[in-house]
């Protein structure tokens, strides 16, 4: 079994929030010896073969790997969408590896936010209602729901777009609605699965800028799955999967800074649709 190794490289760039590197920070994710086996007919597929990974509060981690490397399975387990066959998983100090389907749904509702490659917004539903959705399931009062959804949309730069439906928004705007939706229940962790996979390069930088700001300004823990090294370079730490195991786990010395890059990119009219 391969254990994750900490490459104790600490970034010392002046613009970094020190919280990210606080060795005393509580662990948000603690995966230990995770195995996942699927049976496809008679064949047993070992998607994960002993994954141990700790992610502390305030970290921005990119998970990389080719398809079939186990990164998506790890993502599903971290996201409480799936349970490991073997091994233990503690999320925010709570063992969640043996929870029932409904208990996992509750954990997702309270502690996790998801951002997907295909945005996954409800069609024919306004941006505001899409952002309100998790709060509907959490049973939050209408006035409070409205206030928080509006606030989250403002935070991702979509003020004035509350009533637009997804088909009236550009890809980048849709992804920002999805980020607002992931934020709105104040999660412990935001999981982003190829969030820039359907976006052009400029919009990708914009989305990464939002992620970096959420991470630095609000201290939100982020786990991002990507196969693009360019995108992984925005994270503080990169975990590379191969054949169901962690192959590499290292800190990024000087992560790309999306905000800086945006300043150097030619301005584009935000409202092109």
């Amino acid at each position: 079994m391969q254990t994750a190794f900490e490459v104790g490289v600490f970034d010392n760039g002046a613009h970094r929030v020190v919280l990210t590197h606080d060795p005393e920070a509580p662990e948000v994710i603690r995966l230990e010896g995770i195995h996942k086996t699927y049976s496809m007919g008679d064949v047993e597929v070992h998607a994960l073969r002993g994954v141990t990974l700790n992610i502390k509060e305030g970290e921005f981690v990119a998970i990389m790997g080719t398809s079939g490397s186990g990164k998506s399975t790890t993502m599903n387990i971290i996201g409480c969408l799936d349970s490991p066959t073997r091994g233990s998983y503690a999320l925010d100090g709570e063992d969640v590896s043996t929870l029932s389907k409904d208990e996992r749904a509750d954990i997702r509702l309270r502690k996790l936010g998801f951002v997907f490659q295909g945005f996954n917004l409800l069609s024919r539903t306004s941006a505001l209602e899409n952002v309100e959705l998790p709060m509907l399931y959490a049973g939050i009062e209408p006035a409070e729901r409205h206030r928080r959804a509006t606030e989250a949309l403002h935070a991702v730069g979509l003020a004035g777009r509350e009533q637009n439906h997804p088909n009236q928004l550009s890809g980048g705007q849709q992804q920002r609605v999805a980020i607002a939706r992931a934020l709105v229940n104040d999660p412990k962790l935001i999981l982003a699965d190829e969030p820039t996979g359907a976006l052009d390069s400029r919009t990708s930088v914009e989305v990464m800028d939002i992620f970096q700001r959420l991470n630095r300004e609000r201290g939100i823990t982020l786990v991002l799955v990507t196969h693009e090294p360019d995108i992984a370079a925005y994270a503080d730490r990169v975990v590379v999967f191969r054949d169901g195991r962690i192959q590499k786990d290292y800190r990024v010395n000087a992560p790309r800074d999306a905000a800086e890059e945006l300043k150097n990119l030619p301005a584009v009219d935000e409202d092109e649709e």
Partner: protein, 408 residues
């Protein structure tokens, strides 16, 4: 999990696809309105029969020769071939000896050809007593009814119904005219008020009334009596009268202990019951046919909900990933189908009631909207929603969020 929130979610989901929701409801709308219209037509027919029967007088009794066995074994009432028919003396005895009886009129009838000038008409000539108009609560429109002396003398007088008056003496006053009944001249002394159709749809105005003595002697040539109308002193006294008449007739016909009656005494509620039975059979039949369309409407809902679950697999995946429990998804889809069926049911009720009010105006059929059919339709459509919505809802709730999110 907050049920109110799920109801709101279900409404939002339905509002997103209004035209499909409306089409899905159509089956239930048609089903519910059909049930209400059918039942109200049935009930309307029933109410008409009841009111016609009531208009004949609630204290009316029928006495007829021959036993009528409700099991269907013996022959019907008024069987003239029975060995001991009713006699005029029997009826006289009933009038004299039964205290709860007020009036008696025998009914003997003969089919006869009526001729006046160059007009002719074939009808049933009924021989009755002078009390007939009082017993049947049927007034004379012009002229007068014949008298007891006409009955005693077997006078050749006749009172005709409006239909006959219209056909035999068009455009003139029938009273005082001479009418040949089976080639014998009878004098028309009166014309009955218009009565319309009886519960079986026969024209009651196509009738001629003569003293029963005249009909017996001149037309029939015998003294048998097939049927008699008896009027009890009050509506409450009808049952007493029924029993007393039966006792008297058994005594007069010398029927021993255990021998079956050779006559039948029926009161109006028996008649009403028989008429009702026919009508309820019709109502149930019509209701069942309409119920089938309601069932088909329900299957339509299930069909659309199943399509909807498949089509919205991704949406279900999103909801689950966000943190919706299976039960929340199940409840959402269940509520969607209940909302569809109940809204359809409510629309169907409105349509059904409107149609039930319109039918009498357009077709002339009486209708009566019953509360039971409305309440029944509401309950049935809610049940349809739950029953036919449960399977698709369970299917939605059973989806795996990972697979559902990957679904294209």
């Amino acid at each position: 999990m907050n049920v109110l929130a799920i109801i709101r979610i279900a409404f939002r989901a339905l509002a997103r696809n209004k035209s499909r929701a409306a089409l899905t409801m159509l089956g239930i709308i048609i089903g519910v309105s059909a049930v209400i219209i059918m039942v109200s037509i049935g009930q309307g027919a029933s109410a008409t029969v009841q009111s016609q029967i009531a208009s004949m007088g609630t204290n009316l009794l029928f006495v007829s020769a021959g036993a009528q066995n409700f099991g269907g074994v013996r022959g019907g009432a008024g069987d003239s071939s029975t060995s001991s028919p009713l006699t005029v003396e029997d009826l006289e005895a009933i009038r004299r000896e039964v205290p709860s009886v007020a009036m008696v009129s025998p009914v003997v009838s003969s089919r006869a050809q009526l001729v006046a000038g160059n007009q002719n008409w074939s009808t049933q000539v009924q021989g009755v007593s002078e009390q007939f108009t009082d017993i049947r609560k049927w007034a004379v429109a012009s002229g007068s009814f014949f008298t007891d002396s006409d009955v005693r003398t077997a006078a050749r007088v006749v009172v005709i119904g409006q239909t006959i008056a219209d056909n035999m003496f068009p455009g003139q006053d029938a009273v005082g005219q001479t009418l040949r009944v089976s080639n014998m001249p009878f004098r028309v002394v009166g014309v009955m008020a218009r009565k319309g159709q009886d519960p079986q749809g026969r024209d009651q105005d196509d009738a001629a009334f003569a003293p029963y003595t005249s009909v017996q002697k001149k037309l029939l040539g015998n003294t048998r009596v097939q049927v008699a109308y008896v009027s009890a002193v009050s509506a409450e006294a009808t049952y007493t009268a029924q029993t007393q008449i039966a006792e008297l007739l058994r005594q007069r016909h010398k029927l021993g202990q255990g021998a079956a009656d050779d006559f039948t005494v029926r009161n109006m509620s028996d008649v009403a019951e028989a008429a009702n039975e026919t009508n309820s059979t019709m109502t149930v039949l019509l209701g069942c046919i309409a119920g089938v369309s309601l069932l088909v409407g329900g299957i339509g809902i299930m069909n659309i909900m199943l399509v909807s679950v498949t089509e919205r697999t991704r949406e279900i995946g999103i909801r689950m990933a966000i943190g919706a429990r299976s039960s929340a998804v199940r409840t959402q889809f269940l509520i969607e189908s209940i909302v569809l069926s109940l809204t359809g049911g409510a629309t169907g009720i409105v349509l059904g009631v409107v149609a039930s009010v319109t039918v009498p105006l357009l077709l002339g059929w009486p209708t009566l909207v019953s509360t039971a059919s409305i309440v029944g339709s509401v309950l049935f459509s809610a049940a349809v929603g739950i029953f036919f919505g449960y399977y698709p809802a369970r299917k939605a709730a059973g989806l795996d969020p990972i697979d559902a999110l990957r679904y294209e």
